[in-house]
Symmetry: C2
Subunit: 114 residues, 2 copies
């Protein structure tokens, strides 16, 4: 059915968005800072960065759109924290791509040994 095809294409697009979000050095640096699982304010994430606060804000928005990060407003601060599920999904996808051939072989073998 074409419904299935569309859903896989959507999944594809989401994955591409996740990888694209990860495909920037400064965003990876932000993720490393968020790796302590604590919410960080934008100013905090900007400190020591040689970049403007707005630049960091834009990067955070990219990460948020990809679902890699989630934000919560607390008082005058906007706190961001790491969201692991999409990252894990992307990781699983990479395993699939690099193992496709092996999987096919394994399935074949299992079928033959039945």
């Amino acid at each position: 059915m074409s419904g299935k095809r569309r859903s896989t294409q959507n999944a594809m697009r989401e994955r591409a968005a996740i990888f694209a979000a990860l495909g920037d050095e400064t965003r990876l640096a932000v993720l490393v800072k968020l790796g302590d699982r604590q919410p960080h304010s934008i100013s905090r994430l900007t400190a020591g960065t040689r970049m403007s606060r707005q630049a960091v804000t834009k990067h955070l928005r990219v990460l948020a759109r990809a679902g890699i990060v989630r934000n919560v407003h607390l008082g005058r601060e906007n706190l961001f924290k790491l969201e692991t599920p999409p990252i894990e999904s992307a990781r699983d996808y990479l395993t699939d791509v690099s193992r496709q051939w092996d999987d096919t072989l394994a399935r074949l073998k299992a079928h033959l040994e039945k």
Copy 2:
């Protein structure tokens, strides 16, 4: 030492390049086609793509520069095949990021904050 810091930054840049290369829907589609571990010619990869051959060529070059794909000229054909090590390295990095505060991250953070 700042030599170590530079090396982690280089690793960072390489990873960003890999993720950036993966961050495009049509490139992911190419990778899926290459998932059978067999070398494919550019024309073959273009077939059924609604895209021009040159567009596919550009995408392949992006993947090649990231080390995800390797090409070999055979006669008049240019054959591309999947190269798994960088993909696996990227996957491992994602596991590190999503894992709770493991020591790889701790070391990375220490170096970046120095």
